[in-house]
């Protein structure tokens, strides 16, 4: 028999219940025999069916294929997520939705005699426009009297960043990038304004929780518990308390850099419409599975690309733009656009053990199509990036590229140059084409109507 290549994925090695692996481009999940009773209960109790029907749990099929390691109970093939994202890339509303989904699943599981044994934000992904649990092995049999083993993790992964975003500063949610197991509660407690101590939910789930952790850090679990139990009704009360606290957390975005970007653009309606037509036509030509729209703002051009893409990831640096866009795609039931937060000049790094647990942005590519509209001047002038470096990086991220060149004479570029010395003699269209020509074949170029801007369709060489 020919041996095919099997790769175990580093995102799933902590849990002895099983692990993910890929073989011949297919993704599988091995369920180990140690987890067999729990898996069988998930499937036979009706919990799996209930959660899958509600779109809360990723569906899978059990297949008769060769295990990747000894001790296999079942091999599952889960439905594929088009693009894996991480909590530090989510907007406030997305994190909130993921949190409420986790609590809803925990509550549903309890009805079926099971409970979530972990509550990691990394177990949630956005799939077909909705937050969904992707870890089929997250359930265990509920034992009456037991508190929620994942309570601490839930507070660190969800409650702490949401509370910090709502009460202190939305940028603090970026701490999730530093702390892979969620924001430590003592830190969240110190960063939150003092008035949150008067909020019963936050006072208990964060402030008091942090104090209890400190006080009992050296105490063994059995000693701390002293034989005390928690009734099922009390556990449901705890989950409902968390639901109530999280529902009340809101983030009202203030004025931002881009909030009124479309209103303050310097080009005409005709130019705007021409750009939209080009993005639509060129996306149609590429018919991409996944498109990244870099600097997507409210996703006007993402919508054009979405007509021809399996999924458009609408990246933007501005949390307000991402939040607004998320609310818009939810309202429109537009499941082919996923707004996400990203600083293009410092994209998501690879993090975790051996830097292998969570992939960097580049490692999650290359994608079929990248849109880079009205960002070249920000990269080249605001960030001093040579065209050559921009071209090289983009070539690593995609096969096809739709890019807009904004000339120096453009008022948006003049605005950037107002506050600094013009040290960019090489910022000319000829230089741009020469640099990109080393990494891409220029398939089409069009001057944008009623504007000095140019649009390009390029393909990596």
């Amino acid at each position: 028999m020919m041996k095919t290549k099997t790769n175990n994925l580093s995102a799933s090695f902590r849990d002895p219940s099983g692990f993910l692996f890929t073989r011949d481009g297919e993704l599988y999940r091995q369920v180990n025999t140690v987890y067999a009773p729990e898996y069988d209960r998930l499937m036979s109790s009706g919990l799996y069916q209930k959660l899958v029907e509600g779109g809360r749990l990723i569906p899978h099929e059990a297949l008769d294929v060769e295990p990747a390691a000894p001790g296999a109970h079942k091999i599952l093939r889960p439905e594929r997520i088009q693009f894996i994202t991480y909590p530090y890339e989510w907007s406030f509303g997305q994190l909130k939705s993921a949190a409420l989904t986790t609590l809803l699943i925990q509550k549903t599981a309890l009805q079926f005699g099971m409970a979530l044994k972990d509550a990691s934000a990394y177990n949630i992904q956005f799939h077909k426009g909705k937050a969904v649990l992707i870890d089929t092995l997250s359930f265990e049999t509920y034992v009456e009297g037991e508190p929620w083993v994942a309570y601490r993790q839930f507070c660190q992964h969800f409650l702490a960043p949401l509370a910090l975003g709502a009460y202190r500063d939305i940028r603090l949610a970026q701490l999730l990038r530093v702390f892979i197991d969620g924001i430590p509660l003592d830190l969240a407690s110190r960063l939150l304004p003092g008035r949150t101590r008067w909020n019963l939910g936050l006072a208990t789930h964060i402030h008091l929780h942090a104090s209890a952790q400190k006080r009992y850090s050296e105490t063994a679990l059995s000693e701390a518990r002293h034989g005390r139990t928690m009734s099922k009704q009390a556990l449901i009360g705890l989950i409902e308390s968390l639901q109530a606290v999280i529902r009340k957390l809101t983030w009202k975005a203030g004025g931002t850099e881009w909030g009124d970007y479309y209103e303050s653009t310097n080009y005409s309606e005709a130019a705007f419409e021409h750009k939209k037509r080009l993005v639509n036509a060129w996306s149609g030509k590429v018919a991409p599975k996944v498109t990244w729209d870099l600097g997507a703002n409210m996703g006007i051009f993402s919508q054009e690309a979405a007509q021809h893409s399996g999924l458009v990831v609408a990246w933007d640096i501005d949390p307000e733009a991402v939040e607004k866009n998320w609310k818009k795609v939810r309202a429109d039931k537009q499941t082919r656009i996923l707004p996400l937060l990203l600083d293009l000049t410092n994209p998501s790094p690879a993090i975790g053990w051996d830097n292998l647990e969570r992939a960097s942005l580049g490692q999650r590519g290359p994608v079929d199509l990248v849109l880079a509209l009205a960002i070249i001047h920000h990269l080249a002038i605001s960030n001093n990036l040579p065209f050559e470096r921009i071209a090289q990086t983009l070539a690593g991220w995609c096969t096809w590229l739709v890019i807009e060149f904004v000339p120096k004479s453009d008022s948006q570029v003049q605005r950037l140059l107002r506050s600094r010395k013009d040290i960019f003699p090489g910022y000319q269209r000829e230089d741009f084409e020469a640099a990109f020509g080393r990494y891409f074949e220029i398939v089409e170029r069009q001057s944008v109507d009623e504007s000095e801007r140019w649009m390009y369709l390029m393909k990596t060489v």
Binding site: R14, D15, P16, S17, G54, G93, K96, S97, L100, T101, L104, K117, D118, A131, E140, V143, E146, P147, W148, V149, A150, Y151, R152, Q153, C155, L200, T204, H205, L208, H209, S211, A212, Q213, K214, R215, Y216, S217, T219, A220, L221, E223, A224, R225, R228, M230, S231, Q233, A234, L235, G237, L238, E240, S241, Q243, R247, T250, R330
Partner: protein
């Protein structure tokens, strides 16, 4: 003894017992309050649907 693969934390366990107590009290008060409201409103509180549960 159940096998735990996550460290639940002793403090996190204890705080749950405390909150459960408070929540139990809250639910008790809340349900009386709801009864009172229903009495005046003559309107049954609508159960939350799944979707309302998920988003605000």
């Amino acid at each position: 003894m159940i096998m735990l693969y996550l460290d639940p934390g002793s403090g996190s366990f204890l705080i749950q017992l405390l909150i459960a107590g408070l929540a139990g009290l809250g639910i008790a008060i809340g349900s009386q309050w709801a009864k009172l409201k229903r009495f005046f409103n003559r309107k049954k509180n609508k159960e939350l649907t799944d979707d309302e549960n998920e988003d605000e």
